[in-house]
Symmetry: C2
Subunit: 190 residues, 2 copies
C-alpha cells in the first residue's frame, strides 16, 4: 500500500516539494479503491463523490446519447486525474459515466478533503491550481478535436499530446474518440 | 480608470478579501486595453500574451476550419475571463481566434504577472484556482453541448447556465454556437 502512495508523492513532487509530515497529511485525505475491467465508477445521473488519481489501469469518461450511443469525452491512465468536474465541484448529478477499460487502482479525494488540503497546505493549493489549468487545457483541446474536420489532423493532435495513450487504447475506442470508422483509423495508423 | 479596477476588485472579492494594499499590487499587474466591435484580439497561429478579464463588451473565441467556417468555442462578457488557455499557459501558438462582438474593454494579465501574483499573494493563488476550476467546468460543459444531440436540450443547457448571455448574443451566432439553423433557433425561442 505504501508503494501506491509513493506514486502520488512522486506525482505531486513534480510540482511542489512536500516534507514527509506534509505528505502524511495529504495521503490521509485519499481513499484507495480498486476496480475490475468494465466496472463503472459512477454513472450519468449519480452523485460524484470523488476526484480520482489513477494509480494503474485505464478509464474512459463518456456521454450516452438518447440512442444509447457512447461518446467518449476523455481517457485517463496512470498519473492522470479524472472526474466529471461539474458534478464533482458543484454537487450536481453526473452528465457522464466513468468506467474502467482495464483493472484499475485509484486514489479518491472527496471535495471536503480537497478543500481541507487547500486550506491547510498552501503547496497543495498551488499543486491543484497547476492540475486544474492542465485539466482546462485538456478540455479546450478536446473541444478543438471536435471542431477539427480532418480525421488525420485529429489523429496527429492526439499522437502529439499523448503518444503513450494512443498505444494503449483499444482501436475501436480510439476510432470512437476520433469520430472515425475503424477502417479510417487503420489507414491513419499505417 | 479607477472605476474600471473597481470591477476587478469586486470580482476578486467574491472569492477572497484583499486589503487596499494587496489590491494595489494586483491591479498594477494588469494592463487596460479597449477594442472596437469586430476587432480581433489574437488570431489563430499567433502568440497569446494575456489572459483577459472582460470589463465591458462581448467576446467570441472561435476556430476556423479548412473551409473557412467559424466554429464558436465560447462567448465571454463582463466579469468573465477568456483566452486560448493552451496557447497562453504553454506558450504555444493559438488554435483559436478571439474577437469582439461589441466595443470591449479588457484588463490583460500576462503569464509572468500571473505567476508573480500566485507567488506573492496566496489569496490570488486561491482566486485563480477557483477561476481555473470554473473554466474547466465550462469547457467540459461545452464538450457536453457538442455531444448532446437534441437542439432543444442544448438550448436549455445554455439558458440554464447563462440566461444573461443568451439575451445578449446575436441570434445568428447563437444558432452557430448551438449548431442549429436560424429557423430552428426561432422555434426554440418561441
Amino acid at each position: 500500500m505504501e508503494d501506491k502512495y509513493n506514486l502520488l508523492k512522486e506525482h505531486i513532487g513534480k510540482v511542489v516539494t512536500l516534507t514527509d509530515e506534509e505528505f502524511a497529511c495529504v495521503s490521509a485525505c485519499f481513499i484507495y479503491k480498486n476496480y475490475r475491467k468494465s466496472d463503472r465508477i459512477f454513472k450519468e445521473g449519480e452523485n460524484v463523490k470523488y476526484i480520482y488519481f489513477v494509480l494503474s489501469g485505464l478509464l474512459k469518461l463518456y456521454y450516452t446519447d438518447e440512442n444509447i450511443k457512447e461518446h467518449i469525452v476523455s481517457f485517463a491512465m496512470e498519473d492522470w486525474w479524472e472526474t466529471d468536474v461539474s458534478a464533482f465541484y458543484t454537487n450536481a448529478n453526473a452528465s457522464f459515466t466513468l468506467a474502467c477499460l482495464e483493472d484499475t487502482e485509484l486514489l479518491c479525494l472527496s471535495l471536503e478533503n480537497f478543500d481541507r488540503l487547500c486550506n491547510h497546505l498552501q503547496k497543495m493549493e498551488r499543486f491543484f491550481l497547476r492540475k486544474s489549468i492542465a485539466g482546462h487545457i485538456g478540455s479546450q483541446q478536446r473541444i478543438l478535436s471536435f471542431l477539427t474536420s480532418g480525421a488525420k489532423e485529429r489523429y496527429e493532435q492526439l499522437i502529439a499530446r499523448n503518444p503513450a495513450l494512443v498505444q494503449r487504447i483499444p482501436k475501436l475506442l480510439l476510432a470512437s474518440y476520433l469520430g472515425v470508422s475503424r477502417e479510417t483509423l487503420s489507414r491513419l495508423f499505417s
